[in-house]
Amino acid sequence: MEAQIKVKRFNPENESESFYQDYSLDVAEDSTILDGLIKIREEIDGTLALRCSCRASICGSCSMKVNGSAKLVCKTRIKEVSPNGELVTVEPMGNFPVIKDLVTDMDLFWSKVKSVDPYVKTNFEPEAEHIASNESMTHLLGVMNCIMCGACVSECTALEVDPTFTGPAALAKAYRFVADPRDEEKKSRLGKLNENSGVWDCTRCLACVEVCPKDVAPMERIVKMRDLAIEEGYTNTSGFRHTESFNDSIKKHGRLDETRLALESTGLLNISGLIDLAVIGIKSLFKGKIPPPLPHKPKEADKVTSIAKRLDSQEKEE
């Protein structure tokens, strides 16, 4: 079958700007996008730069944007994204500097992974292999599937505006050790992750969950660490106040008390934050939008609040 592949090209040695180049080629019905790109490089245009190794979705080398979102090109068949021969656009990953064409610079990615101390920390020197039972490790199987391909980082909406954010891959890796039964630095790890650029800067946009080729679900690990950090007593964050106020509101009213949520998350001692809220409040008033002094309660709200209280105490027992 014929495939139409449009590739984003960039060579910093010769060009100051990137450009798109179209290729048409004959490929087998079951060809992957990587097969197509390799064929382009070998038979049509030897100057095309790309990175790949295992070709079996194990090594994590060939993550690229396909039609706008990151995929392992060795795992994605052309037919899958272009069932009727539509043009397939391939670009380098987002949120990474480009070295050449489809090859990205992974240095910052690795330094962030290193920043979370990705190894088990103990207070003693194990004399032999430090074994954990199978049962105590099964909950980590999902997160251990990570092949460090960078697809989640490519799509992260928080990293796009703030390159200092630790990011989904390194945070998922952090969770792998926070939740390891052998690790003895859980509290200090969570303390560090609770700081700026850590777990609270995630927008919960689900982009990382959506593109991960190994179902690692980084965002779910990040929000789990928020809860673990709170359990460890790290409560001096607006993130904590936000979650707490939200839960209280549902426990008390069954619905959200927006006004209280805004005030409590900002913090009653945060004067500039409160002035900021007041400005928006006053502007809304001028538009005739008066914030309700009390939340809009559901009918028989006591039924909701009793469920909330019951499940809250169930969770605390666990």
Binding site: T157, E160, D162, W200, S238, H242, S249, P295, H296, K303
Partner: protein, 296 residues
């Protein structure tokens, strides 16, 4: 056509113009709504961080209440839609978990079979009303206008819970509806990204960078206004646009942000003021004037 209505907290609180414009538009569309008055907040993903089971019980309870009414649910908020869909997806694919949740619901005499459909108004326009029928209800041709779609994360991801594979049109639903009015849908990178609202009270600097980027990019691509099916996105993109654009040197707040039913209502010929388009914090005066000039 009748639906069990889940308006969500924001339409009942900070964005009353969404509630009002929805009511005006569904009336014209011939959709009858019966509000699920006992429904709780979805938890918006925040409650779920602390206690996912509580979030799931509350959302499955909403689905069970609709089942009792014998109706599918209509939502008007991307976040509500996404969070209820995610809970539904978890129980439908895990019968043991559904049973566990049902045990909690039985205390209130409720039971969920796993069959309630929950749809955003945007999807209902496409799948239940149909674009052709919708266009027949339009009285104003909005050609010449350029509207930037802004979906809201939870109406786009995760695709399995939202049924995007089974209904691929949902991925482009807002573009399709905008184009059905005769207007062009602005093509820009931010349309499926995060508006920044979830971190507004946590990391305002980053949140406002998102607002500035998406509204600034859409404006650069020629948008006359932005349209969103998510009132939470609206709160940030409209309410904080002035500060965000100023702080990030992206010019003045000049991009009106419309709720989805406001766009539909305008195309139907309803009065922009009746639809509450003048209630937004970013000035819509010039925009309303240009719509009125077009009608005249």
């Amino acid at each position: 056509m009748k639906f069990a209505f889940y308006p969500g907290c924001v339409a009942r609180g900070a964005a009353p113009e969404l509630y009002k414009s929805t009511m005006l538009v569904v009336d014209k569309l011939g959709i009858e709504l019966e509000e699920i008055e006992k429904a709780a907040c979805t938890g918006a993903g925040v409650l779920q961080e602390k206690n996912q089971k509580l979030g799931d019980v509350l959302n499955i309870r909403t689905l069970a209440l609709a089942e009792e009414m014998g109706l599918s649910i209509m939502t008007i908020c991307s976040t509500c839609q996404g969070v209820i869909s995610q809970a539904n997806h978890r129980v439908v694919n895990n019968p043991e978990y559904l049973e566990e949740i049902n045990k909690e619901l039985e205390k209130e005499g409720l039971h969920y079979s796993g069959k309630t459909e929950v749809k955003h108004l945007l999807w209902i326009l496409l799948e239940d009303i149909g674009i052709k029928t919708l266009q027949d209800m339009f009285n104003i041709d909005l050609s010449g206008f350029n509207f930037a779609p802004f979906y809201g994360c939870y109406l786009i991801r995760p695709s399995d819970a939202l049924g995007l594979t089974k209904n691929p049109e949902r991925k482009h639903s807002l573009d399709i509806v905008i184009e059905s009015t005769g207007a062009s849908a602005t093509d820009y990178a931010g349309k499926t990204k995060c508006c920044g609202f979830p971190i507004l009270l946590i990391n305002q600097k980053n949140s406002l960078k998102m607002v500035a980027k998406h509204t600034g990019d859409a404006k650069d691509e020629g948008a006359d206004a932005m349209v969103t099916p998510c009132p939470l996105c609206h709160l940030n993109l409209d309410g904080y646009q002035a500060k965000a654009r100023r702080q990030n040197k992206r010019g003045k707040a000049d991009l009106p942000i419309l709720h989805l039913p406001q766009l539909i209502g305008m195309a139907m010929g309803l009065d922009p003021k009746e639809l509450g388009i003048n209630k937004h914090l970013v000035s819509t005066a010039a925009f309303i004037k240009s719509i009125k000039t077009k009608v005249a």
